[in-house]
């Protein structure tokens, strides 16, 4: 896992990148809701939404290969699960197609949201929208320490693989995994303790505070207005 895979394209320069986090959160969520309300079989509406994603993907300047890659990674599960649907009273092909299309569209909007917004900015937007502070802080800590812990995991896995010849019996594997998890857990607790001391040293008193996000501009208003018009306009 590369260090910058999360905010890889968050620093690009495009109208979507310039939008405030709140705007994008609300806007893309609204679009996803719009997608979920498309009745099965309304091919034109699906088409309109796909056109919209195409336009947005273009505006975002995000490399298309990246978006396609992320979509393809999730697709197998979607299709597989969707294929279980027809095994009902009769083959509901239309419903299967609708499920798959809705999944893909929602996925595309989600990718557009997360790839055009730096995670820290996203968190500030979430807070402004009313997300509890403790949750926002938690997400921040997860983001910050994810790589530290992932590296520890990979190192442990490497160490385990170095000492392994062939495949050990399942029970031994399990015990080893348990010990690895246990060690990782203890280290996490110890790190949390030192983190707490560092937080105290800089004035932490249990009350949580978060910086404010970017300012709301005309561009944000325009985006939200556009999204609203689209959702309301493109309906059966």
């Amino acid at each position: 896992m590369r260090h910058n895979f999360l905010d890889r394209y968050a620093g690009l320069d495009s109208p979507l990148h310039a939008l405030e986090a709140r705007t994008k959160l609300v806007g893309f969520l609204a679009l996803i809701l719009g997608v979920l309300w498309i009745p099965a079989g309304s091919n034109l509406i699906f088409f309109a939404y796909f056109l919209l994603t195409a336009v947005l993907m273009g505006i975002s300047q995000i490399p298309l290969g990246y978006i396609v890659g992320r979509t393809l990674a999730i697709l197998p599960f979607v299709v597989l699960a969707g294929l279980a649907a027809p095994w009902g009273d009769h083959f509901e092909g239309v419903r299967l197609v609708a499920i798959v299309l809705r999944s893909i569209l929602s996925l595309l909007f989600l990718i557009l949201l997360t790839s055009t917004t730096a995670f820290a900015e996203l968190l500030r937007g979430l807070r402004k929208l009313g997300c509890p502070k403790i949750l926002v802080l938690n997400l921040g800590f997860l983001y910050r320490y994810l790589f530290v812990l992932t590296e520890e995991v990979l190192r442990m896995r490497q160490a385990r693989d170095c000492r392994r010849v062939g495949r050990a019996p399942a029970l031994a594997e399990f015990k080893l995994l348990g010990a690895m998890l246990g060690t990782l857990l203890v280290r996490s607790f110890e790190r949390a303790e030192r983190m707490y001391q560092a937080m105290l040293s800089r004035g932490y008193d249990g009350d949580l505070r978060i910086l404010a996000p970017r300012k709301f501009t005309w561009l944000d208003l325009g985006f939200l207005a556009g999204v609203t018009l689209f959702i309301v306009g493109v309906r059966p």
Binding site: F50, D89, L135, L137, Y143, R144, E173, L184
Partner: protein, 302 residues
């Protein structure tokens, strides 16, 4: 199992979003008012721990691989509310970073993988291990909690998908419950294993951190929280309920129907239909790609 967007009926994911949202607000408020200040960095690091720990895969049933979910373990170590919030954090991050599970379906996933695992795991553990936990019973209390948390979570997931008419109950329920009953052995085993490891290396962690207990009143509220929406859903989606249940009961009849359809699906006279669908898919994708490229090129120049 993270549910993507598009599978659950609108009523279903709306109800679950509301439920999970309210639960998060409730847990956050309780923790803010009652928990010690050090729970914040602890939850933060453990969120990262769970996320990272889920990278440690182990092979299951030839081909697939499983990983520790951790809901029960976290609830046992941090208490159910903090454990729940930590899992919710992980699930939100998974949706945002990895697109694992949809955005509208986040409420459902938080409920299944966050709430159900945490509360059931915690409840069972307290019941079996006693309070304070007795060492001898620690291992198997941990095992049962881990196992049951996974199975219950899978059952809820199957119910949601079934009631949404996405995956019929008679397929989904046995498949999800059965698969997770087997995987649950790993979850239970790892939960027990980690707890036993901790009691040897850092016993203070098992007793000290779960300072936010759930009293009787809390359990009543939690149960009410779950029972009320489920009741509403069942009443609202009652048309969906009897059919799959009925078919489940009359098992013999249910087995023959799908087999007929299976034959139908692969018959040659369906081929033009499939070809047409495939053509539309390919042309449609190409069209979308071209439009996106076009817009990208033009906006770059301006």
């Amino acid at each position: 199992m993270h549910i993507p967007d598009g599978f659950l009926s609108n009523k279903m994911w709306l109800a679950l979003d509301a439920l999970s949202g309210a639960s998060i607000l409730y847990a956050a408020r309780r923790l803010r008012l009652e928990a010690s200040a050090r729970i914040v960095p602890l939850m933060g690091v453990l969120s990262a721990f769970v996320f990272a720990a889920q990278l440690l895969n182990f092979p299951v049933l030839g081909g697939t691989s499983g990983h520790l979910v951790g809901g029960a373990l976290l609830a046992i170590l941090l208490g159910p509310l903090a454990g729940f919030l930590t899992m919710a954090t992980v699930l939100i991050a998974q949706a945002l970073f990895l697109q694992d599970g949809g955005l509208a379906a986040l409420g459902a996933n938080i409920f299944n993988i966050g709430a159900v695992t945490s509360f059931s795991g915690y409840g069972l553990f307290r019941l079996l291990a006693g309070s304070p936990p007795r060492e001898r019973r620690l291992a198997w209390a941990g095992f049962v909690s881990g196992w049951a948390s996974l199975v219950l979570s899978a059952v809820c997931c199957a119910l949601e998908l079934g009631l949404s008419r996405a995956i019929p109950l008679e397929v989904g329920l046995p498949a999800m419950a059965g698969y997770h009953a087997i995987i649950g052995f790993a979850e239970g085993g790892l939960t027990a294993g980690v707890l036993v490891f901790l009691v040897r290396v850092r016993p203070d962690l098992i007793k000290g951190t779960s300072d936010l207990r759930m009293g009787l009143a809390d359990w009543a509220v939690a149960l009410g929280f779950v029972a009320l929406p489920v009741l509403v859903l069942i009443l609202a989606g009652s048309s969906a309920l009897p059919d799959p249940l009925e078919r489940l009961l009359s098992s013999a009849g249910a087995m023959t129907e799908p087999r007929n359809d299976a034959g139908d699906l692969l018959s040659p006279d369906r081929y033009p239909e499939y070809l047409r669908a495939a053509a539309i898919l390919v042309v449609g994708t190409a069209l979308v790609y071209l439009v996106a490229r076009l817009v990208q090129g033009r906006s770059r120049k301006s």
